[in-house]
Every structure is written in structure tokens, then in C-alpha cells.
């Protein structure tokens, strides 16, 4: 009886899950495997092999990978520095990292478009200093740059979290047993923060892989990611079947990459998922 009451508490979430996750996925699956007239087909899914789609998918994978690696390289040392600071200043720095996340996502991208544009703030500043203009707007570089800017906190926070959980005692014990700084890093700190690294990678790689707004606004139509292709299929061509088919392929990629990372996380022994 009491159990039943508890389960009832999950009711609103269950309704949410059915209405906004399961149902849409079912709809996508239906459209993905049917033609406009409603008969079964593989064509929507297999159209990923069309060169324009394949190119977009590969570019998405490439940019997401670059973005993830840059975030990782920036975040790990930063998390270490952060962890070494006094508790009071730690809170303040974390607050500064989170601060941009309180601003609307689209607004931030638009801001970078203004900043990076030919006559934007950065270029006029460079001009007055007599330096060459930064001409990266409408290139993959700008897209990666903005994605890194957007997703960096999602990498820093889980790594910092994992690092903060390591007891000072544990490090001292390793030193006591004869470990030098390098050994401590590779044998203690890195393995114990692996769960954070894995969460960080998933939380950056997946949204980077599926993003379309950044490339839309900062790519100027020249950087076509798989997200943009799907968006166009739905919004411009009104071809829901093609859009769903491509979405299905992208979902497979997301699920596979998450599964891959999770199996790596398990080896670390302290997976969070």
C-alpha cells in the first residue's frame, strides 16, 4: 500500500516521459521507416549515405570531437587549479563559470556573432591596434569556438566534482608509500577523476554532435552540420520522413558514443551512470 503511494509520486514524471520522450520517439520511428504515402521503407534511413548527408555527419563528428578535446584540455588543469584553491575562492570561481549559463543560449550565440563579425568589437579593436583582422566568422573555427564557449562548464563541473571528492588523506597516503607527484597523478588522481571525465565528455560531445543553432548563426550557411540538414528537412522541405530517418541515424550515433564512454567509465570503477 505504502509502496503504491510512493509510486504514485512518480506519476507526473511518468506522464511527462510518455508524452515528451516515448511518444515523440515512436512518432520519429514511424516517420523514419515509412514513405509519404505510409508504406514501409528503408530509404529515409539509408539516405544518410548520400554524399551531402554523409559529409554533414562526418563534419559534425569532427567538430564535436575537436570541441570535446579542447574542452577537456582546458578543463582538466583548470579543475586541478580550482581544487587547489581555498574553499572560499573555489565557490566564487565556480560561480563565475556558471554565470554565462544563466543567459539564454541563443543570446550568447548572437552575442558572439556580433563580436566576431567583420565590423564587430573584436575586429575594430584589432584594427585600432594595427593588427590584422580576425576573419573567422562563417567558418568551422567560429562554430567550434562558440561550442567550446557554450559547453565548457559541462566539462569543468563534473571533473572538478570528482576531484573535490578525493580526500587529502588519500593523496598523503600515496606520498607516504613513496609515490612522487607524477605517480600520484597517474595512479591516484586520474583514475579517481575518470568518472568525471567520462560524464564531461558525454555532456559536451552529445550536444556538440547534435547542435545546429551555432552553425546556423556563426556558420553563415557555409558550415552544414547534420543538425542543420535535419532542420532543413523538417522546416524547409517539409519532408518529415527524411528528417526522421536522419534523426534516427543520429540517435544511433549518440547512443553508441554514450555506451562506449560508459564502458570506459566502468573500468575506472566509479562510474556515475
Amino acid at each position: 500500500m505504502r509502496n503504491l503511494k510512493r509510486q504514485l509520486l512518480a506519476g507526473p514524471y511518468l506522464i511527462w516521459m510518455i508524452g515528451f520522450i516515448l511518444l515523440p520517439v515512436a512518432v520519429i520511428l514511424y516517420y523514419a521507416f515509412t514513405t509519404t504515402s505510409g508504406s514501409f521503407t528503408f530509404l529515409n534511413v539509408s539516405s544518410i549515405t548520400f554524399s551531402v548527408h554523409l559529409k554533414a555527419l562526418l563534419l559534425s563528428l569532427k567538430l564535436a570531437l575537436i570541441c570535446t578535446i579542447i574542452c577537456l584540455i582546458l578543463s582538466y588543469p583548470l579543475a586541478m587549479i580550482l581544487n587547489g584553491m581555498k574553499t572560499k575562492s573555489q565557490g566564487f570561481v565556480v560561480f563565475i563559470f556558471i554565470l554565462p549559463m544563466w543567459m539564454n543560449f541563443m543570446l550568447r550565440i548572437l552575442a558572439w556573432k556580433m563580436l566576431l563579425s567583420n565590423n564587430g568589437v573584436i575586429n575594430s579593436l584589432l584594427g585600432t591596434l594595427g593588427l590584422p583582422k580576425l576573419d573567422i566568422l562563417n567558418t568551422p573555427t567560429a562554430v567550434v569556438f562558440c561550442m567550446v564557449y557554450d559547453f565548457l562548464p559541462f566539462m569543468i563541473l563534473p571533473i572538478y566534482n570528482a576531484m573535490a571528492r578525493i580526500q587529502a588523506d588519500t593523496i598523503e597516503a600515496a606520498r607516504d608509500l613513496g609515490a612522487g607527484t607524477i605517480t600520484i597523478f597517474f595512479k591516484i588522481i586520474l583514475p579517481l577523476t575518470m568518472s568525471g571525465v567520462v560524464s564531461g565528455i558525454i555532456m559536451v560531445f552529445v550536444p556538440a554532435l547534435t547542435s545546429f543553432a551555432v552553425s546556423d548563426l556563426l556558420g553563415g550557411g557555409k558550415v552544414l552540420l547534420i543538425g542543420n540538414v535535419i532542420e532543413q528537412a523538417f522546416m524547409q522541405e517539409y519532408n518529415w520522413n527524411l528528417g526522421s530517418g536522419l534523426s534516427f541515424v543520429l540517435m544511433i550515433f549518440v547512443i553508441v558514443s554514450m555506451a562506449l564512454m560508459n564502458s570506459r567509465g566502468d573500468e575506472g570503477g566509479t562510474g556515475v551512470w
Partner: protein, 357 residues
């Protein structure tokens, strides 16, 4: 007497302007079980961390086996530490935890295997190699921490309140285990605790500390039977500490009654602190006693009764196997040998310093 293995000379340490250790001098002999005992904040853990290399003294020298190691990092010292909260590596199995120090020293695989087996046997956990840390109880984790330290064959094992997180029964069992380990390994143990019973049970030498100063160094018997000042007397077990006046050699006036005692050399009519252990107070019939009083409280403690007797304005703490009901009129008798006379400290500051010289 065996040789001095560790010598702490004029050690001074402060944190954020707060003096923790002030000109501390202490030596530790080879193969002894030495306990640093004191209330929290007395500087005992800091002393241990200075020996371990986790803190550097502001002034002073740490000599280990004839060499100055004051500036040496912990990983370059020939000693190992057992931490209060075990500090095991959570991502490693038990065998990997124990092997950690040996792998760093590049020992052969066979040697490491042997050592793990030996160490697990020593701490009564044979066959636990593959288990994960999280599957162990607190007591088992602490044994693994000890095993991890001793496989490296340190000359000294430092133990920082290793039993602090365990329950009473387990703590008592582990005390005997530690004594056995110490005897089997034949190495020096430096042990930090605030538990006087633990210190008395295990130690060869006890160092009583307070406010950054060493109060008294001695065997458990010395410390218990002949505390050097009121602090030590009070900290090591329960005591009646009473204001008295030394009339002359071998005669002290307590609560307006003259008691014969065995102490000499305090001068005449000198104010002193008198310490009498509760188990040394003998309750007799009123006419037989040196002073008379009334029982005000009676508590059963298992082995003995704990009785409070109000006599001549002082609440005497008495431990006896004889029951005396509350309200009964009794006499108090103390053997001259059981009366401990101590000079009064002149100020609070001196209270801490006086035995430092």
C-alpha cells in the same frame, strides 16, 4: 637501552600565527612503542606529521637514524603512516592497495605476491586479495591500511589515531592486535591518541602533551602512579586533586587534616597540589578514618562502585568494591604511599610549560 632512532630537536611550528609546538624536544628509541597522548589541539598530530614529512617545522631539526631529514619529502622517508580514516585507494582492490608501495619500489611480481599474502595473514584477513575496499567494515579497512604500510618494511610505523573511528569492542581487540604486530615485526611504533586507556594498554613510553608542550615522558606506570603535575594526573585517569600545604618533609595538610606522606624536598608550609587516585581512597568506619564524611552519590560501574563522599568541604571520588549506600556516614583513609605531592604552577602559562625544561 636501544639507540635513539628519531630525534626531534627544538621543533617549533605555528599555523596562521597560532603556536602549535614550541621548542619541542623528544627522542624515540628503536623498537619502542611510543604514544603521543593529549587532548585535541595539544600538538600531538602535528608532531606526528612532522615526523612523517607532511609538515615542515618552522624551526628545529628532525634526525632519523643519524641523518637530518627535516626537509625530506614524505616519499623519501623510511617510514609509513596509518591514517585515522584509513585513506585506502577506493579504485583499487585490496591486493592492489597493499602492492602500491612495493610497485613503486619496483619489486618483482613474485616478491609482491608473497608480501601481500604475508601481510594479509599478519592482519588476519587471508584470502581477501580480490575483494573491493567498499565491501569491508571499518575495522577490516584499518587492518588493510596497516598491511599496506608494513609490507614496505618501514623502520617506523606512524599511527594517527587509527582506532578512533571504531566502536569500543573492536577498538579493544585491535589494541591487542597492534601489540602483537609490534612484537612480531620488531619495528618502532609512534602512536597518536587522545584515549588514555589506549595509551596505557599499548605503550612502552607515553608522552603526555598539552598546548604544544610536553608535560611528561615515562612508562605507563610512571605516568599513572607519579604524574608530574595536575594536568597529567587529571588527564590520565580520574583523580582527586586537592589544595594542600606541605607542613614539612613527609607531612602534608589536606582539608585541615595532617596526612603522613612519602614526599620530601618541598620546604615548609608550601602550598601544593595533592593527587589521590580514587581507587587509593579507602572507606572505613567513621571512627577509624582520618576524616569523616557522608556518601552523596553511588554509581555501579561493573567492576567497582563509584562513590562520592563529601568530607571537610571536598567531594572525594572513591572507587571501591564495597557498597556504601547514599547518606551513610563513613571514614576516609589514605595510605601515605598513595599520596602524590606536586608543586603548584604559578600561572596558567606555567601550567603548560613547567615540565618542559
Amino acid at each position: 637501552m636501544s639507540k635513539r632512532l628519531i630525534d626531534l630537536q627544538h621543533i617549533t611550528k605555528s599555523f596562521d600565527g597560532q603556536m602549535v609546538l614550541d621548542d619541542l624536544n623528544l627522542y624515540i628509541r628503536e623498537n619502542e612503542f611510543l604514544t603521543l597522548l593529549g587532548p585535541s589541539g595539544c600538538g600531538k598530530t602535528t608532531t606526528l606529521r612532522i615526523i612523517g614529512g607532511f609538515e615542515t617545522p618552522d624551526e628545529g631539526t628532525v634526525i632519523f637514524d643519524g641523518k637530518d631529514i627535516t626537509k625530506l619529502a614524505p616519499n623519501e622517508r623510511q617510514l609509513n603512516t596509518v591514517f585515522q580514516k584509513y585513506a585506502l585507494f577506493p579504485h583499487m582492490s585490496i591486493a592492489e592497495n597493499i602492492a602500491f608501495g612495493l610497485k613503486i619500489r619496483k619489486k618483482s611480481k613474485a616478491y609482491i605476491e608473497d608480501k601481500i599474502k604475508y601481510a594479509l595473514k599478519l592482519v588476519n584477513l587471508d584470502g581477501f586479495e580480490k575483494r573491493s575496499i567498499n565491501s569491508l567494515s571499518g575495522g577490516q579497512q584499518q587492518r588493510i591500511a596497516i598491511a599496506r604500510a608494513i609490507v614496505n618494511e618501514p623502520k617506523v610505523l606512524l599511527l594517527d589515531e587509527p582506532l578512533g573511528a571504531l566502536d569500543l569492542k573492536l577498538r579493544q581487540d585491535m589494541q591487542y592486535e597492534l601489540i602483537r604486530l609490534k612484537n612480531e615485526l620488531g619495528i618502532t611504533f609512534v602512536y597518536v591518541t587522545h584515549d588514555q586507556e589506549e595509551a596505557l594498554t599499548m605503550s612502552d613510553t607515553i608522552v603526555v602533551m598539552n598546548q604544544g608542550y610536553i608535560q611528561q615522558v615515562g612508562t605507563p606506570q610512571d605516568i599513572y602512579n607519579e604524574p608530574i603535575n595536575a594536568f597529567v594526573a587529571d588527564f590520565i585517569g580520574e583523580s582527586n586533586i586537592i589544595n594542600g600545604t606541605m607542613i614539612e618533609d613527609r607531612l602534608v595538610k589536606i582539608l585541615d587534616v595532617k596526612f603522613p606522606c612519602v614526599d620530601e624536598g618541598f620546604g615548609t608550609n608550601t602550598p601544593v597540589d595533592v593527587v589521590i587516585r580514587p581507587e587509593d581512597v579507602v572507606l572505613v568506619s567513621p571512627e577509624q578514618g582520618m576524616l569523616e564524611g557522608d556518601v552523596t552519590s553511588l554509581i555501579f560501574k561493573g567492576v567497582h562502585w563509584e562513590i562520592e563522599v563529601l568530607a571537610n568541604g571536598y567531594e572525594w571520588l572513591v572507587q571501591t568494591t564495597q557498597m556504601h549506600p547514599v547518606g551513610s556516614h563513613v571514614g576516609i583513609l589514605v595510605d601515605p604511599f598513595n599520596i602524590q605531592i606536586m608543586n603548584k604552577p604559578e600561572s596558567n602559562d606555567e601550567k603548560a610549560v613547567e615540565s618542559d625544561a
